[in-house]
Symmetry: C2
């Protein structure tokens, strides 16, 4: 059988003592990422590049909560966590599931590293 | 390391000559299923049991399109495809990505069998 079109990778690590799972799945039109410390899919947010700008530094993103509580902090976290993945994937939109017990700046920083290691498994 | 909390399984088969991929991922509060003949995540639909009725025969479901075109046929397909998975998973809601080239009754029937084989890999 040919290699599956859809690639999915999973990484589990501890962030400030909390077991954290990251699942990255690559679709042709979306990167699907779940970050969970509850085993839940959590709040589902779409993070979509506003335009096909080739200049990464000026690229802006629109976030929309599709499922779950729509809070300002969720949009900030989602942008912070998903932007670099979108850019690495050639400005592909990201669908992000977020279920975090700890969303401190320090935790977000560590989680970003886990996403990096997980998404790198997709590309390389 | 302990077994990952999130289990994901993937099956690829041909349906009427079209390569069809099914990805099933089990979260504690949702079963996430993507059925794709395009490699895309497609239309994203939530299929949620209306009540915690213990009688499967009277269980009804609410469908909502979260991403993509909201068409009546999409709701019918989603209910048809996701209901049995939800029931097998103890009435858990299903998040369904649907990107089908062929959504004839015959194709849906075959795709249902693929979902069954894929979700069975999750439970057993």
């Amino acid at each position: 059988m040919s290699e599956p079109v859809i690639k999915s990778r999973q990484v589990q690590k501890h962030v400030n003592g909390i077991s954290t799972e990251v699942v990255c799945t690559e679709f042709s039109n979306y990167i699907f990422i779940v970050l969970t410390q509850y085993g839940k899919i959590g709040t589902l947010i779409s993070v979509i590049p506003d335009s096909q700008s080739k200049d990464i530094s000026t690229q802006s993103f629109s976030t929309k909560v599709l499922l779950g509580k729509d809070e300002p902090l969720t949009h900030v976290c989602a942008k912070n966590l998903a932007t670099f993945v979108s850019q690495e994937a050639g400005n592909r939109p990201v669908l992000l599931g977020l279920a975090l017990k700890d969303s401190s700046i320090d935790a977000i920083k560590q989680i970003k590293e886990i996403i990096k290691s997980c998404s790198n498994l997709l590309w390389y």
